[in-house]
Homo-oligomer: 496 residues x 2
């Protein structure tokens, strides 16, 4: 690892985020919430830290993909710390660990909150909170569609072929092109959702914050009652549609927008994603009808649609307290939490494609037991899935279970009960938001012990970066290859 | 599938179990519990059914391994139904579904009970209850060490080389030889444990029943308080040692008994099994010490040892109500439930070797990400693990999760709460016995809805037969290949 080069990039990123920290200022002025100086100072802290790093460490041109792991993890960690400052200075959160949790929950597009009442935060800080989602979502699209497939992380190499944009030999330009294309889709969707929400009666502030949280599959709302606050079928429908879209591979959106309208349905992952959603919705509606949870069928269907897409895409918005639903509905929703969105979407979780391949493999094994001489291969669409992809999915599941177990053990060791602790880990590791019991949709994470909040923040990061990225940094091998940083002053006189 | 041949073998097996149904009679006479006629009639029912099948269907010599799936599943099902009769006729269980649950729990060596008070059963029925464990354990040793590796089920082909006994070309004699050798080890251990328990003061009846339940990693006791009833350090120690031995690959025992004393330690799965156990024990002792769960360290260590081996080997005996332990201990014990015993032991669960290979694979993937050019293979001991074995483990996990999810959804759909329902499925699918909450170690399964009991009985069977065996029978492909049965009378005049 080239420590100096990594820190140089990290410095540049801090400067970029410092610029973003200026964007809540217009809201602060408009709502007169007295946070202008706070955001200015936070931005200044970011800028100074960033420039210091850039001044100290020279860029290195020969950064390898190993350095990518360090850049990515360091960036998300640094972003979370810098992004926590406005929360801290707002004075509404006492401990810095709470601010860090909230900020990490934002940038990882998780949406778990430590706030009992969201409205206590100044409007500009609420905007910042939603913006962390949007920035995080932007990062993850590029990461999952342009960078991770090249690293061969947990079966994602299958999507190498799906990268849009002109193919060039060198890595960096291709990533830049891909990023530009995908981000324009992301931006377009965000703008359309803002517009549609404003047509539904939301003011620009609420519309923007909710659009940010929807497209990033984050889930932070500007109201404690989440989307339920608006109690509007139109608003819920708009958000359902955009949650659904945010859970789809963004390169598919690009293709459809480029005119290939059949791209959605030709994609097997997309079909499976739609299938799971519809199956879950029908099941929820039937069970809730049987148990008379809702007075009329309309409410039943509407809440089922909203909750399924909110959980499956790992957004975590709420219009109903599913803690009050029958046990089987809770089990179904927890199962959906693990699935998550499609690969290349902003959604978290295990990803639809991995789940699909997983079960395809089990079915193939059964066929093989019945017909031992049959030669069968697993296909995704028309592409034959190589064995190594299947094997790296095996590795992904192993890591996933290891993280899940370890985190649950740690959180419960800190005194949290079994159901709250395990579902808090599920909710953060899959970047969803709410869990069950004391971290259910009508509850929050504020009452957990500070150390548990740190463990859960780590889960959010690990889950968001597909585990491998974080796990690699925990291996001694990785650090054994770290080089001493190259300081700028060492380059003096070398002619560089 | 050769339906006729399968039914012929099944008939012979029924006759064998009908003979076993005579063995509780001496106990019935000794304790004068009035069950002699019951056991005689149960035995008669079995004998008549068996002979009818044998009379109707001719044996077929060319049975393929596909027929093996049908024989195995049919046998366990038939055994459970026949074995339920003594419970039913004892009059202490009201519904037949309860008797079936108890009997299936016996033959699959699960040890979950529907009884609130075990002592209500006549002594001879309690003996039969323990004997079902012992018979089931006998079946599973041969199945897991001699038959499943040949079928290549879920990574078990790795153990093909471990089969003891003289190697011959044809399948049947080899299985018979292997069976004879392994059963003598099983019998030897049972006799030694009976002897040691009797030295500790148990009468012949209690000693035999507990030895049966230990060696089969079953868990049925003759007392409601389970092994805690005896409150004796000696008895607990003996049972701990034999639970530990029952969780080890029986072909390893054979090698050690044949003089290769180093066989245990040379086996990587064995070392990992010991490692997990010690890690869990130390953790439990420390947490329970920190929370002052026990007054003195001795009790703490003793209960930790007992509970860890009881859960890890999937025996399910209890000397403590771990429902009362801190949450982290419960999470740890539930995690151990998934691991289970070594492959080729009588223990259930996922099996130590699969878990070991699973995490080895994850570690290899991480190494590969750091050193992309490194060529590394996964080894077990000195043997290189083929990719297909790793892939079949992937398939196993997928099936495992599918069964777990489906069963949990069904059980909670019947109104059982989330924690009770999910841990009831874990406890039965892994053939352990107790779960958490309303099916915790101080509770029982009696209060569950009848349909839930059937679902859980199915879980026991599926878990015991390594999922694949049961899952294969659920595929339409399997039945498409079924042949019409050959009736005896059709052979008349054909000269056979």
């Amino acid at each position: 690892m080239r420590t100096g080069g990594v820190l140089n990039i990290f410095g540049k990123l801090l400067i970029l985020i410092a610029l973003c920290l200026l964007s809540p200022i217009p809201f602060s002025i408009y709502f007169n919430d007295g946070m202008v100086m706070t955001f200015l100072s936070c931005s200044l802290i970011g800028t100074i830290s960033g420039f210091t790093l850039v001044a100290l460490f020279a860029p290195e041109s020969d950064l390898g993909y190993r350095d990518g792991f360090a850049v990515v993890v360091l960036s998300w960690l640094g972003l979370a710390i810098l992004g926590a400052l406005p929360f801290y200075f707002s004075g509404e959160m006492n401990a810095f660990v709470d601010c860090f949790f909230e900020s990490m929950s934002g940038f990882t597009t998780t949406g778990s909150t430590i706030l009992t009442t969201v409205e206590v935060l100044p409007k500009s800080v609420l905007f910042w909170r939603a913006l962390t989602h949007w920035i995080g979502g932007m990062g993850i699209i590029v990461l999952s569609l342009a960078i991770m497939p090249l690293l061969g992380i947990g079966g994602m190499q299958l999507f190498q072929a799906e990268m849009p944009g002109p193919t060039k030999d060198r890595l960096a330009p291709r990533i830049q092109d891909t990023a530009r294309i995908l981000w324009s889709v992301y931006l377009l969707f965000t703008l359309v959702e803002i517009l549609l929400l404003m047509i539904g009666g939301l003011d620009f502030f609420d519309a923007t914050c909710h659009a940010f949280a929807t497209l990033a599959t984050g889930g932070f709302s500007t109201h404690t009652a989440s989307v339920g606050y608006f109690n509007s079928v139109y608003i819920e429908t708009v958000i359902i549609v955009f949650m659904f879209l945010a859970g789809v591979n963004f390169s598919l959106h690009y293709r459809v927008l480029s005119g290939k309208l059949s791209a959605y349905w030709q994609n097997e992952e997309f079909r499976f994603y739609v299938g799971i959603s519809l199956f879950a919705i029908v099941l929820l509606v039937l069970v809730n009808m049987y148990h008379h949870v809702y007075d009329n069928l309309g409410d039943n269907i509407r809440t089922a649609f909203f909750q399924v897409f909110s959980i499956l895409t790992t957004t975590g918005f709420g219009t109903a307290d599913f803690e009050q639903w029958p046990p089987v509905c809770k089990v179904l929703l927890v199962s959906l939490m693990f699935v998550g969105g499609c690969a290349g979407s902003t959604g978290g979780g295990i990803k639809v494609v991995r789940v699909l391949l997983f079960f395809k493999y089990a079915r193939m094994q059964l066929t093989h037991l019945v017909h031992p001489r049959s030669v069968s291969a697993i296909k995704m669409g028309k592409i034959k899935v190589p064995q190594e992809v299947m094997l790296s999915i095996l590795g992904f599941f192993a890591l996933y279970i290891a993280f899940f177990l370890l985190a649950t053990l740690l959180v419960t060791a800190l005194g949290v009960d079994v159901l709250t602790g395990s579902t808090a880990v599920i909710a953060t590791l899959n970047n969803i938001g709410p869990g069950l019991n004391l971290v259910g949709p009508a509850q929050n994470f504020g009452h957990l012990p500070p150390l548990a909040k740190l463990v859960l923040s780590f889960c959010m990061l690990a889950g968001r970066l597909e585990l491998y990225t974080v796990a690699v940094l925990l291996t001694p091998d990785f650090w054994a290859m770290a080089r001493k940083p190259v300081w700028r002053w060492q380059l003096q006189g070398t002619g560089k």
